[in-house]
Homo-oligomer: 120 residues x 2
């Protein structure tokens, strides 16, 4: 069954921060939606590149040597192996695209780790 996904509707169904929800899957990759607020943890992903598309709000992606501000309608690919830290001064809604099974905290495990993201 081919079902469309309304991104805004999906975002209306949850409020947790830093807890990506899987909304679609294709070619071994997953589309996830997440609400972010505050600073995340420094991490990297060994085995996958990660795409961030800002749906609402303004996201700062910190790298060790610089930072990139992402506005609504802007996307960024963080290549595998590159340390990064997303920071949301106010709540941000993002769409993520990354390999199925990617751990949100990458090479680190801690309070913000979501081992098994919910399908929504």
């Amino acid at each position: 069954m081919i079902e469309k996904v309304n991104v805004a509707h999906k975002f209306s169904l949850f409020n947790e921060h830093w807890s990506p929800k899987i909304v679609a899957e294709l070619n071994g990759q997953q589309v996830k939606l997440a609400k972010l607020h505050g600073p995340f943890v420094w991490h990297h992903h060994d085995d996958g590149d990660e795409l961030f598309l800002v749906i609402q709000g303004r996201l700062r992606m910190e790298f060790r040597d610089r930072q990139v501000w992402l506005e609504e309608g802007e996307l960024l690919v963080v290549p595998r192996g590159i340390e990064h830290r997303p920071v949301a001064d106010e709540e941000v809604q993002v769409l993520l695209f990354e390999p199925a099974g990617t751990l949100n905290t990458g090479n680190t495990v801690g309070a913000l780790t979501v081992a098994e993201p919910e399908h929504m």
Copy 2:
């Protein structure tokens, strides 16, 4: 170099219909932007699932047995092997996500085939 992509800006750079532009690449997949107008050709992709996210306008995705209307902010995954035909009664802007090298007309080749999509 990690460069962000402003989707609206990229769309301002071209006017052709049915000519996807590659704006990012990750994990062997490509993010493409396309402007659609009118009916496309019936086709399927043997080797890849294809994601459509409507950025502006309203897209009708026809399948052999039904159709799905996609509004702004809605996405749909068309699984590999499934015949489909996008139709845009008025101009639509879409973001595509699919394996690198996916031919826009899939198993068919014709006037609308873009053999080597431009990077933008």
